[in-house]
Symmetry: C2
Subunit: 428 residues, 2 copies
């Protein structure tokens, strides 16, 4: 047996936020029939079994190809996969705008990571020191907020409207930070421009350009990057695609793009990517070689094969129809039940997997509150909105909820939203 | 275009060592026929194409099973895989010793990581603050030395002999650190007990137990962990397996075990693992959820299927015969060419993939030296031993070389070692 020996974990470990989702799942266990509108999982039914089997067999059929996939790969990721992803993104941007741009993005600016989350983590670790600041939408993706906190950084929330980050509010926040002598701490602006998680908003193209201009203009003491997290871009159910911020920064001087096949193909294959500025290629690569020496290659070769066989976009079409039905079910049930409730509102998202619900101020939706407990007892669970706010800047709104429509059937979504609506209306 | 805006990367990024292997590969490009005895890759010919194809088809054949593999998984890793890995390790330990031990290690102490490298990184990030110290063999695995440096920690080298870390030297190093008031900074002792990379030495069972006892005894101010990196354990070509340190710490109070299928099956599938003390499960899990939210699940399900079908150990037998031939080729050619050279010696490793070569002191084998340049011009490349030494403690020996026999055929190994031997004998 050991002597005294108290365990001391690192400062970093103390700063690592536990995932709220695990606590919620624990709560949900009390009611086995609970309808979860909390999890960020994807629809199980439409996962691409056949396409993946075909691609895996293709990768492993030929002995030479198979041995490439089973050997160590490069820290950057598979060459063919990186090429196909970059090309696809440039084509999307070109198609979404009438302006013709010549992209100078080079292949060594493309990294493959197991999910876009790892790209966000590596990036935070590469550009942030403790005390550094990332400006972000209020509300924002809680996993990224957690990654910044893990490093000892600060997230600074900026006001949003139905079109995402308000450029004037961003400008004002930078002015405020400058006035306080903290401009040199600002390293990045984080945005989820397509169907924001959790906000559900989509940044119009002109706002993306404005945010980029603001980042450039305020890069007085050091470069301020724009991190464009495009995880949901392919999951659009309404309207036309808009060009990425990448389009106005074609060689990626200020812009970092993160993307993933987790939502638009399969999270179990777990292939994401990042496009990054040239000066970060070396440092981020070094961080990556510490974390895992390159993403698992077999999964990358399977994904490259799916793209080569043009089966990805076909699959995305199927997903769009599945999720569109669920989104409609959620929005219609909200309208039918809550449109008369004063100070209750939500954004009619045109893509992604989230709806952000704001309730009257007397309802605290938090983890330890009675409202959540009642909702769980009644048979529905959600993510308390409080998790989605930055550590400073815009104040957290504790009367908010993140709903997701990725996992449940349309019928269960209707049922869940009805139960939740009854709780809201019953709450005094 | 941007304004002034100098890029500033984080302190961490500045501390991230570039991988020496990439620089070496750059040098090797000058000679396309070069024989690389540098890379830590595995044999290409024996990669398990058929077994993997069968397992992938089994995972993807049944729609229910396939959907589990394509969906998000748990942060810890696949349940069945964790069970099989833990059971296998306990059986190995029990078989390797006459003592019967009752293992209390619980399944939630088992984490799956993409390669054991990630486990080492997560661990370093979880237990080390800047300035903290890890004691390790001199020489030690350079990737782990780099991970500690990345975090701002110090590695402290301890003298080794033909059986790995010398317990008396470890004791003396701790005494020295205590005398200097730095004992509270010592968080771990790192060892690669089976066929050390780069040393090639194997820690006898009694030494493993001694090291564990030393760690327990010196855990006065805080716990000192023993990190047992067992990446090469299955690749034994001679003698009997020895029990892991885990055997004397059956509930893992001080011991962390890292393992991987990268060397003993396939690095492209990239499944590794860690067994960790209970008090680290929460903190390390939180770090992991920041880094990737769980290793890619499809690869884990494939690996679980390979184990269930009992095809792993069968494959390991094949690998043993392949690598044994190469090891013999390397050792015999060294003996034939260098046994007469004064102050030139190496360890006759009985497993793994490395031979550690010490040359006469007037030869500097370093990256920027003439000796390496001559060797490359003559057609052979190696890893300069200087990369394998800790940041303090035992002094680095710049007249050392890490040779690997994993990639080249026996014939090419003989040829490469002959060329290198000529360089050594010609060097004045």
């Amino acid at each position: 047996m050991t002597n005294a020996s108290q365990t001391k974990v690192s400062q970093r470990a103390l700063q690592a936020a536990g995932q709220p989702i695990s606590r919620l799942m624990g709560m949900a266990l009390s009611n086995p029939n609970i309808i979860s509108l909390a999890a960020g999982f994807v629809d199980n039914e439409s996962l691409p079994t056949e396409i993946t089997k075909e691609a895996a067999n293709e990768v492993l059929a030929n002995d030479n190809h198979s041995k490439v996939a089973l050997q160590y790969g490069s820290n950057h990721g598979d060459h063919e996969l990186r090429e196909r992803i970059l090309l696809h993104a440039m084509e999307m941007n070109q198609a979404a705008t009438s302006e013709i741009t010549s992209y100078n993005t080079k292949l060594d600016q493309v990294f493959i990571t197991p999910g876009s989350n790892q790209l966000l983590f590596l990036l935070a670790d590469t550009i942030l020191d403790p005390g550094d600041i990332v400006l972000c939408a209020s509300p924002s993706y809680f996993v990224f907020i957690g990654a910044v906190k893990n490093i000892g950084g600060q997230t600074y929330g900026v006001a949003t409207d139905e079109q995402g980050i308000v450029p004037e509010a961003l400008e004002a926040a930078l002015q405020q930070l400058d006035n306080n002598g903290r401009l040199s701490k600002v390293k990045a602006i984080y945005t989820v421009p397509y169907f924001d998680n959790p906000g559900g908003t989509t940044l119009p193209a002109y706002r993306g350009k404005q945010i980029l201009d603001i980042a450039r203009r305020w890069s007085r003491e050091q470069k301020i990057y724009v991190i464009s997290d495009e995880a949901y871009r392919m999951l659009r159910y309404q309207g036309d695609d808009t060009p990425s911020i990448h389009h106005w920064d074609p060689s990626l001087e200020h812009t970092i793009v993160a993307g993933t096949f987790s939502k638009s193909f399969s999270p179990g294959i777990r292939v994401g990517w990042g496009f990054i500025p040239t000066e970060l290629v070396g440092p981020l690569g070094d961080q990556k070689s510490n974390v895992d020496f390159g993403a698992p290659l077999l999964a990358q070769r399977i994904m490259a094969t799916v793209l080569r066989n043009q089966q990805w976009l076909e699959h995305v079409e199927k997903l769009r129809s599945v999720y569109n039905e669920r989104r409609n079910a959620m929005l219609q049930t909200l309208t039918a039940n809550l449109s008369d409730v004063e100070n209750c509102h939500w954004h009619e998202t045109n893509g992604g997997l989230c709806v952000w619900l704001t309730l009257p101020q007397h309802i605290d939706t938090g983890m330890d509150g009675q409202f959540l407990k009642n909702a769980v007892d009644a048979g529905v669970i959600y993510v308390p909105g409080a998790y989605c706010f930055a550590s400073e800047g815009e104040l957290a709104n504790h009367s908010t909820i993140r709903l997701t429509f990725g996992v449940q059937s349309a019928e269960r979504i209707e049922q869940g939203v009805r139960i939740l609506s009854e709780q809201i209306k019953a709450w005094q």
